[in-house]
């Protein structure tokens, strides 16, 4: 079925198609239309799920944990300050190994009050052990919710599907809504092997000393790494069934590129026609869109970037006191490579500042012009 869908609602459709059984969400600011539509779907019976209204995002994640521990496929959604309020429970969801899927709309953090897009809210949660998928189209948002469950439930790791506020969240695009029976075949019912069971009572999350806590952390890291081949396998399977392929990252005109732009989310969409235009001018430029940021595709990036002439990374986020997160991590992944290219790190578009094609082009041109980066952070368009 073809349907024009708004970015926020693409998350709701993803949860509907995934047959989420419990949705726990805080319904007020900074909540979006994601859960508004989900509550309608629950009310009219199209989604057979329990909708739990809670008093905060912290409670939303706590209730989601309870539902997931009971074996239910669980969905929630939030944004910016709401995600920050969840922070403590995000660690709990990972440590308890609950494959919850959450939608997060990337909004800049306050103060000052803002509602416009920036990735710092989700980047600040990168160490909680959640899988993070940064999407770049409305179709991909819907598809990613389905794939997120498919990956998360195999490794018992929670996942967040992330989208830019407004640029994606309030944009309407024509989407292919897959048939429910095909989605059911791709994503069968989840059987939680560790669920709460009155036949086999057990205590969860109890005090664990230095003798075994370390091993539990080892197992989280070992299993989140399994998501890398899983994203490739399940993305290929998704492509065979639905005609759209998804992996850890997306490449565009990369093969012979000597200068490579690495970025994420909607800036990558803006960059594609810029790459086309610059190639017509004779520049050998290419693009890598990092789709899955956690786990980070270090090995893939080493293969794709080692030996290139120059790399620039554009971040719509900032880790204060260091640099953009995608830049820092891409650099770190390449550090031990003999043929690691010099890398430029640009910060652009914070707080929803527009990043149009000429700005993207300017960053690529500056990279081509310079021999070597001179600063850890290159600011674009600061009024100074």
């Amino acid at each position: 079925m073809q349907k024009v869908i708004m970015g926020n609602h693409a998350l709701s459709w993803g949860a509907l198609l995934s047959r989420a059984e419990v949705i726990a969400a805080y319904p007020i600011t900074p909540q979006t239309e994601v859960v508004e539509l989900l509550s309608n779907m629950c009310a009219d019976g199209s989604l057979k799920a329990k909708f739990i209204k809670v008093e905060s995002e912290h409670s939303a994640m706590a209730a989601s944990m309870g539902a997931s521990a009971a074996g239910a496929r669980t969905f929630t959604a939030t944004s910016s300050q709401g995600l920050a309020l969840m922070h403590e429970v995000l660690h709990w969801a990972t440590g308890a190994r609950l494959p919850i899927v959450m939608g997060n709309i990337n909004r800049a953090m306050a103060p000052p009050w803002t509602i416009w897009t920036e990735q710092t809210d989700s980047i600040a949660q990168r160490d909680t052990g959640w899988i993070q998928i940064y999407t770049s189209s409305i179709q991909e948002i819907m598809d990613s919710v389905i794939q997120a469950y498919k990956v998360a439930e195999q490794i018992y790791i929670p996942a967040m599907v992330v989208l830019d506020s407004f640029v994606l969240s309030h944009t309407n695009e024509n989407c292919e809504v897959p048939d429910q029976d095909k989605v059911d075949a791709y994503l069968p019912r989840f059987e939680n092997a560790y669920k709460l069971d009155t036949e086999k009572p057990a205590a969860f999350g109890g005090l664990t000393g230095p003798d075994w806590y370390y091993e539990l952390r080892y197992k989280i890291e070992r299993d989140i790494q399994k998501a890398i081949p899983l994203f490739e396998e399940t993305g290929k399977e998704f492509g065979e069934m639905f005609g759209r392929h998804y992996g850890m990252l997306e490449t565009y005109k990369l093969d012979d590129a000597d200068t490579v732009l690495v970025t994420s989310a909607s800036i990558a969409s803006t960059a594609r026609p810029v790459i086309d235009a610059m190639r017509e001018e004779g520049h050998k430029v290419g693009l890598i869109r990092i789709r899955v940021f956690r786990p980070f595709p270090s090995e893939l990036l080493r293969k794709l970037l080692a030996g290139r002439k120059k790399v620039l990374v554009v971040d719509r986020n900032i880790s204060f006191g260091m640099s953009g997160a995608f830049y820092a991590e891409t650099k770190a992944a390449l550090y031990n490579e003999k043929k690691a290219p010099p890398m430029w790190g640009y910060i652009a578009g914070l707080g929803g500042r527009d990043v149009p094609m000429d700005v993207v082009k300017g960053m690529i041109e500056q990279t081509i012009k310079e021999d070597h980066p001179t600063e850890d952070i290159i600011w674009i368009g600061v009024k100074r």
């Binding site: 440590g95 308890a96 190994r97 018992y156 560790y194 057990a202 205590a203 969860f204 999350g205 109890g206 664990t208 075994w212 091993e215 539990l216 080892y218 197992k219 299993d223």
Partner: protein, 94 residues
């Protein structure tokens, strides 16, 4: 089920901190400062101490007198406070 489960390596354990048996193997009475001592002369076997003990550390013996399992009792003193006959005295642990 009440035997302690020994792990050798990470693959012996579940993915998360999850009990595989009963918690009775996990002795938790070691940090007690005060110990309840029963005066059988005063006790009328009403069972109120048994009912109130928050750690289920009191069992009734064959003669229906309460007996405190000191491997779990934390010495909170609720039994002594609730006892209608003042038959339980909290004594400092040496």
């Amino acid at each position: 089920m009440s035997e302690e489960i020994k792990w050798e390596k990470e693959s012996d354990m579940p993915l998360m901190a999850m009990s595989l048996g009963r918690m009775t193997v996990n002795k938790t009475g070691s940090w007690r400062n005060l110990r309840p001592v029963l005066d059988r002369e005063k006790c009328n076997k009403c069972g109120i101490c048994w009912k109130f003990c928050p750690d289920v550390s009191i069992e009734m013996d064959d003669e229906d007198y309460p007996v405190v399992d000191l491997s779990f009792c934390k010495g909170c003193g609720i039994c002594a406070v609730e006892c209608p006959k003042d038959a339980i005295e909290m004594v400092k642990e040496e």
